[in-house]
Structure formats: C-alpha cells, structure tokens
Subunit: 362 residues, 3 copies
C-alpha cells in the first residue's frame, strides 16, 4: 500500500482499536424497544431486560405505561411477578406497592427505615413498540424515537417478527449488511449473484447498496409477490433492483427499490436489543413492510406464504450467527479475517458508537 | 434514633456482623433428617447428602441402620449404587465390602496396601425419619433428637411432605416466620390481614405470634376443616386464633391455637437440610399434624383435599424463595433491606448459631 | 516391604510421577478413528473432533477422503455445515471454497488480503473406519494404521458399536483391563470368579490374562453362543478359557480362547478418542468379532440377542466409568487407591506414553 490516505488507514484492520468487537457494549443513550405493545394488556405488567438490567413495564388500567427496576428493594423479587393495582405495581411476596415514580407504599408493615425508592426509566410507546431509554435521563428528551413511517402507511402491510438470538448484536448487523452471504439462502431463493454498487459512511451510519442477478433457479413465488409480478422479459431480477442496507446506529434498515415504482417495494426496520449483561444474546424486533399490489387483497391472500418465507430466511440467518458466537466462545475471542470494506467500516462504526467493554475499562 | 439501647443496637442492621446470611453454613452439631424411613427398605441402601457430603445409609436384613461415607476408597464410586449383603454394603464395581464400622473386606483381591477404612456417621431413626449427626461425634450422645409428639398422638393425623428447594435454608426460615407474606397466598386463602402480637427470643430461638382477620374472600373448605367448623358468627377468623412460629435452631415449628380448644388445631414441624457444599439447595422434611375432628373419619375423608391445599401453598412458597435465591445470584450477594424486627432477629439467630462461610474463614 | 527391586519400586504408587492420570492427554502421534466409513456418504462432509480440535472430513464425489480444520478462517464457521462441490468444501455462509490442500478459492469477493489457507490433516480409511493423524505430520507415514484382521475374516462376524462416554479415556482402559469387576455384570452373566493368570508389559503395552469359573447362576444363552456350545460336563466355564486383554498404546484388545479351538472365539478391538480439549469425554469405536459356529447361520440367527447382550454390558460399564469421572470432578482430582498390579502398570503405561497435562506444562 503506497498511498496511505486517512480514509484507507481508517479502513485498514491494523489501524482499528485493539478491541474485541464482540465485547463492545451497546450505547444506552438511545431508545431501545423492549416489548411489543400487544404483549402488555391493560392492568398487567411485563418483565423485560436491557443488557442485564431487569425492567418491569406496567400498563395501569388507566393512563400511560411506566417502567421501573424489576427488583423489589425489600427482598429483591421481580415486581413483574406481582399484580397491578390501580396505578401501582404490587410485589407478589409481601405486597409492597410502588407508584410510577418508584415510591414505595407499604400496606400494614411498620417500616423502621425510610421506605426504599425504585429507579424509574423513561418509557414510550410508538408504532406498536414499547421503548425504554436506559442512558442519561437528561438526554432522553432530545433523542428522538425511531421513525418507521411505513408501519402507518396504508399502501404497505407490515409484519412484526423477532426472537431471542444467542449472539452479540454486532453479528446481526454484519449478517444483514453483507449481501455476499446470499449463498446461505440459495435453497430458498435460488442462486443470486450480488453486485456491490457502493457505500456511504458517516459518524453514525454505514450504508451499502447492492443489485442482484439470478444466475440459476426459479424466482420463488413469495419473492415475485414482493416485486409485484413475475418478470417475463427474461431479465428476471437482473440488476434492475437496488437494495440499500443502512446501519443508523443502533438501528438497521433494508430497502428494496425497483424500476418503474416510486416507493420502495419493501422496507425493513430492525433493532437488536442486548438481553444479558455481557450482551451475548439479543432480542430482535423487526418490522417488515411490503408494498400492497395493484390487485386488492392479493398481498393479504399471499401473506401466510410470505410469513413462512421470511421466517425460514430468518431461521437460516439465526443458525449462522449463533454458530459464529459459538466459535467466538471456543476460540476465546474474535478471530475474524474480515476483507469486505463495508463490513470493516461497519465494525468501526459499532465500536466507535458503542461503549468499551467492562473488561477494557477494568 | 435517640435511645440506643443494646437491644435496638442488636436489632439494627448496621450492627450485624458483615456476613452474607446466604453464605452462613448450617451448624453440623445437630441431628439432621436425611431420608424418610419408608424410603429405605430392609436389605437396601440409599444415597443422601448433607452440605455436599455424600452419605450412604444402609438397612441390613437384620439389625439397625448405619451410615458411612458414600464413596468407595478404591475407585471413589458411590457405595449406594451397590448391594447390601448381610450386614455389609458391597461396591457395585469390584465388589469391595464394608461393615457398619467402615472396615473393608475384599473378596478375592490381593490387597498390597492396608485395606482402607471408611468414615462412619452416627445415625438414628425416629418418628419415620432417618437422622444423621455430622458434627463432633462426642457430642452426638448429649444432643437430643428432635421431639415431634403429635406424630404419635392418635388425636392427630400427620402428613409428611417435602421436596428439594433451590435456595439457602435461611430463605425457608424467613418465609415461614414472616406472616406478612399472606398476600402471596391470597388466591388460595382469600385476603387475610395479619396482626403481629409479639416475639420472644433467646440464644437458640426466635418466636413470633400472629393473629388474623379475614378481610375478603370466603374461607376455603380445607381451612375450615383444620378449625373444625365453619364460623357462623360473622367473626369468621377474626383475631380468635393465635399462630406461633418458632425457629428452635436448626428446626422450625408452626402452631395454631384457637378459642375453646385446649390443644393446637395444627402443628407443623419442619427441617431444611442443606444438600450441596455451598448450602444453596435444601431438602425439606415437613410433618404437618392436624387435630382430628369430633365426627370420626371426617378428617380422613377430607385428607386428599387438605393434601392438595397444603401442596399448593408449599408450591407458591417454593417459587418465591427460589426467585429470591436467583436474585441473590444475579446481584452477587444479599441486598435485602429487611425492616421487620422479627426477621432481623431471625437472621441474627441463624448467623450466630450457624458456621461462618468458607469464604470468610479463607 | 523388604525386597525393594526396581520392578516393585516401579509398581509402587508412591514412585509414580505426581501426575493426575485423568489429566494426561493422549499422544497425537497415532492414527485415531474419528468416524465410521458408513457415516460419510459420497458428496458429503462430516464434522468430528479430536481432543477439542474440530475437523471436517470430506468425501468428494470422486477420489479419496480428506480432512481440514473445521473452521472457515473468514468468519470461523464450521465448514462441515457447508456443501461439497466437486473436490471442494464450500462454507455455508459466504461460499468460500477450500481444496483438499486447504487453499481458499473465493467466489466473487474481492479479497484484499492474501487468501487464508487451512490446516490439512493426514486422513485414511481402513476396515470401515476413518482415521486421522493429528501429530507430527512427518511421522504419519512411518506409523502404521491399526490392523484388525478378524473384520475381513469370513470365519468371523463383526459388530461395530460405540457411543460418546463422559469420561477420560484412562477409565475405559482400566475398566476393560480389570476383570475383577465381573461382579458389576453379575445380573447379566451370573457369578463369575476370575483367576488372574499373569501379566506382561513393555514400553508400549500391558497385557493381562485371566480365566474364569462360574460360581453360581446359569450360563446365559448369548454367552453359550460365543463358546459354540453349552457345556454339559459340569465343568461349565471352569477355567477352560483364557481371556487376554492388552493395551497396545493407544488401542485396546480383548481375546477369548477356549480349549479345542485353534482360533479365538471372540476378539474385540477398541479405541477411545478424546473429544474435548480437556479429554474428559471420549468417543468409543469398538469392533467385536465373534467366530462363526459349525452350524451355518446359527450365529446370524442369534445376532440380535448378542447385540442386546453386549449393549447391556457396555451400558453397565458406561454408567460406572461416568460415575468415576463425576467423583473425580467432585473431589477435584484423582483419589484412587489402586492396589491391583495390572492396573498400576496400566496407569504407568498411559502416563508414560501420553502427554503431560496442559496444567503441568504451564
């Protein structure tokens, strides 16, 4: 390498900080989804996690949801095992009640010490998702909730999906961003040859664009449904579509645009929320919006097929990233020999926007 | 706090020794139950544990039971996997035989070294329980076996119950002693308002007395059976009964007395025997004795109902104490903010009568 | 002990090196079986292990099998999850292809770094077994594959068996070599009294010879089939047969010869292949060859019975050695008080031919 510009230096693996990317913690100064709205009925509470911190989200019979530490200070039991009474959450064991401000009201117990007070967490609901803000509370007002407009757009139908995946969130970002892994899904989608069109990057994002040509195999019906029609001109899927994948820290999106249609035919918004303290598991919250077809209800008819198709793709990806995490454990650290500039840029983004591992800061 | 008497100082959390109560080991200088008599038939052996020590209890075809280390010195196999031959226990693998005094008799093997000798443990049987004494053998004669007279009293019928519970024994003592947790069982027993009547304490015991009023819900049939009748005077369960809970180290009892009956309507004797070396699991041995009713056989008829009722209460308690233990693990130690003087006294009792944790003594 | 010859000194436990035999690693300079030939069809790959090292064995559509590290250097995924294409194995994730020499061929990816190269392992096939050589590659040509001639001898029928057993391989060697454990199988074979006839030992082997007398119980039918007939002369199994057990490092054999028949009635060849890095689990590859009887097809008719019989013996042994391993874990090391000279010699053999534990060499 002769011309050592700052850009190539930044992309050069050797210049990266000596951090194991699988130990980088997510930055808490963002709104993270922790549950689907439909999981939490009126008068109920739910126990969720962000990076090892247990949180109880309460939906009282009336009024907005609220979030507290999911630990009763008296005996450390999860409050989410308790019962919602009016605007309070009551511990299952001795019945200590806590308000939305975390104040304790103790029925019939003569407390000798000052009643304990629970930590509260900023908590909002939008587009069918429940979000919490676990970072610096003062920032919570200035940091916007993610915007997912297709969810509310009648021209699209949206599928909500997600599972707990046993790996660090960085594996998820890399999996979606690196379209050279199409071969993994060849049994489902046939042989697809990706062509990398270019990338953009900034302080808080990396974006990659691809197009595809089908090299063998028939286009599956489910895919045809996304593109609105089966192509009859023999140029089936041949570099007519553009797929844009973007990690806008800490979220990720994927958009497919095709010739002759103004709006994207598909848009995916996805977040990977660390569950345990080491952040080696994550819960996925995905919103997959597909543009409705010209023939009314056709998309609805085909919906079960689309669900099955996307579920299988997701399952294949999940198996792979969990194998990657398993290899990381066996080899006691990251041994990846990454060569694709997009992924090298993505790794740098995740490290620079994330938090150093507890190990590195002592 | 202005008047700082020695009593309040002793109750004050800050004055307690800086020990994590969940690490305090049980004192071995007592008789601990390790099995029910009915579990061990003639000519059989059973493998049990006390605080990580494997013990084999043998019931020969003739004569009294005996207890040895459950490890064959030759190849370290559990002798309890072997066979009882006459007054000997024979190892399953190579057939080495051990007497009740732990002496080895080796069939057909030319031993070059001195035959190994097994440790023996004092072992007695009473009231359907098999007890061992794991402490200083010289003390075993002066320390009495626990007395549970109701078991032999024809006016009572006794239920034996117990399971392995995944928690430190101290959680069990606290659970039973703190009647403010009635709310946990409200689905089973309705709303009960406990009134704390007072406590007594000594070097080796803590005793608390309560009475109750039903605030809502109907008295369950199973409960009525214990009290002999459904109350018709509208004062249903209103402060007419006294419940006395006593930890007489290391055992625990619960007694209910009611107006107009000389003897208790119910008496529970219960022991929590640490299983693993860290003493974070315990096996429960409970004897629940209920006074027979005036109508003969009525209690026997209702027995299955009573079993189901007590089993469900026990299950609710078990779930709670296991959640407490789990929180202790996650938080890496005891974070309880205990405020109830009875429980604070009980914790002190368990610490002072128990053994310091291995961690603390190095 | 008065006469302290060098021989007795060598057998004396105190004179043994202070190594825990359960930490001694197997010597990699031998051919170890890692799979049955029938497990690996044409055009397929299989993932196996030797002492923690993951290996992929590939059987291309044409040509001989080959073995590589089962880790794609790009993202550390097991290549055995991939697909065989011609003479290549292709990674499931991004499609990187590797030749039998471990060279990487990358389809459509612009690699900036030198393509990574995988380690290859010597790999051969014989008698229905796939062997690898994990030691010094230069030695692989001079070290012979094990010879198991009965497998190819039409006078014998051979059963292949094996499972993963959760113990160090040394427990397996000791189990088979010490015939004083016949008592373990007394429910299956009746009471057998072993008589030790003597032993031989050399730098790389220990051999023990026994004969047996039945002391009670009837000879099982399955056993009679091995010996060709039920003995009618009342001397049933009384010291007429000789059983020879030999550990020829690292393999083991067992042979039974009986009066009046020139060739052995039974021959067992068995290998124990460490699976994990600590070598505390092993996969068993056993070949049990039984001489055909005079009446044609009688052995074939009885075959299912023989399989069931040997399977039950193997299961009893497996339970025992896994209990031994469990005791080793609980006691945090080897506490065996071995007294039988054959086993003491065998332990010495395994230590001297094996590799020091990683712990001991730092």
């Amino acid at each position: 390498m002769t011309g050592n510009t700052s850009e190539t230096a930044a992309l050069d693996g050797a210049a990266l900080p000596q951090q194991d990317i699988r130990r980088v913690r997510s930055n808490p100064d963002f709104w993270y989804p922790v549950a689907w709205s439909r999981e939490l009925r009126r008068g109920r509470a739910i126990g969720v996690r962000y990076a090892g911190q247990p949180i109880v989200v309460v939906r009282p019979e009336a009024g907005a949801i609220f979030a507290l530490d999911d630990v009763c200070p008296h005996r450390q039991l999860p409050l989410s095992k308790g019962v919602v009474c009016g605007d309070f959450i009551r511990c299952a064991y001795h019945g200590l009640k806590y308000s939305r401000r975390g104040q304790c009201f103790s029925p019939g117990m003569k407390l000798e010490n000052e009643p304990p007070r629970l930590r509260t967490w900023a908590c909002r609901e939008k587009d069918g998702l429940i979000f919490v803000f676990m970072g610096d509370l003062e920032k919570s007002d200035s940091i916007a909730l993610p915007d997912i407009p297709r969810v509310r757009d009648p021209h699209y139908r949206t599928r909500r999906f997600g599972k707990v995946v046993q790996c660090h969130y960085s594996f998820m970002h890399e999996n979606l961003m690196d379209m050279n892994h199409q071969i993994l899904h060849s049994r489902l989608v046939g042989s697809m040859k990706p062509r990398f069109l270019g990338m953009d990057r900034g302080e808080d994002f990396v974006e990659a664009r691809y197009t595809f040509a089908r090299t063998s195999g028939r286009q599956p019906l489910s895919e045809a449904l996304i593109y609105g029609q089966r192509r009859k001109d023999g140029r089936d899927f041949a570099y007519r579509d553009v797929m844009t994948i973007r990690t806008q820290y800490p979220y990720q999106t994927l958009q497919i645009e095709t010739e002759g249609i103004d709006e994207p035919v598909m848009e995916l918004w996805i977040a990977y929320v660390p569950q345990d303290r080491e952040e080696l598991t994550n819960r996925v919250f995905g919103l997959l919006s597909i543009r409705r077809l010209k023939i009314p209800f056709l998309l609805d008819l085909a919906w079960p097929l689309l669900i099955a198709f996307t579920e299988r793709v997701f399952t294949e990806d999940r198996e792979i990233v969990e194998l990657e995490q398993q290899a990381w454990r066996e080899q006691d650290g990251d041994r990846n020999q990454e060569v694709f500039p997009v992924i090298m840029a993505l790794r740098q983004l995740l490290i620079q926007n994330g938090m150093p591992s507890r190990k590195d800061i002592g």
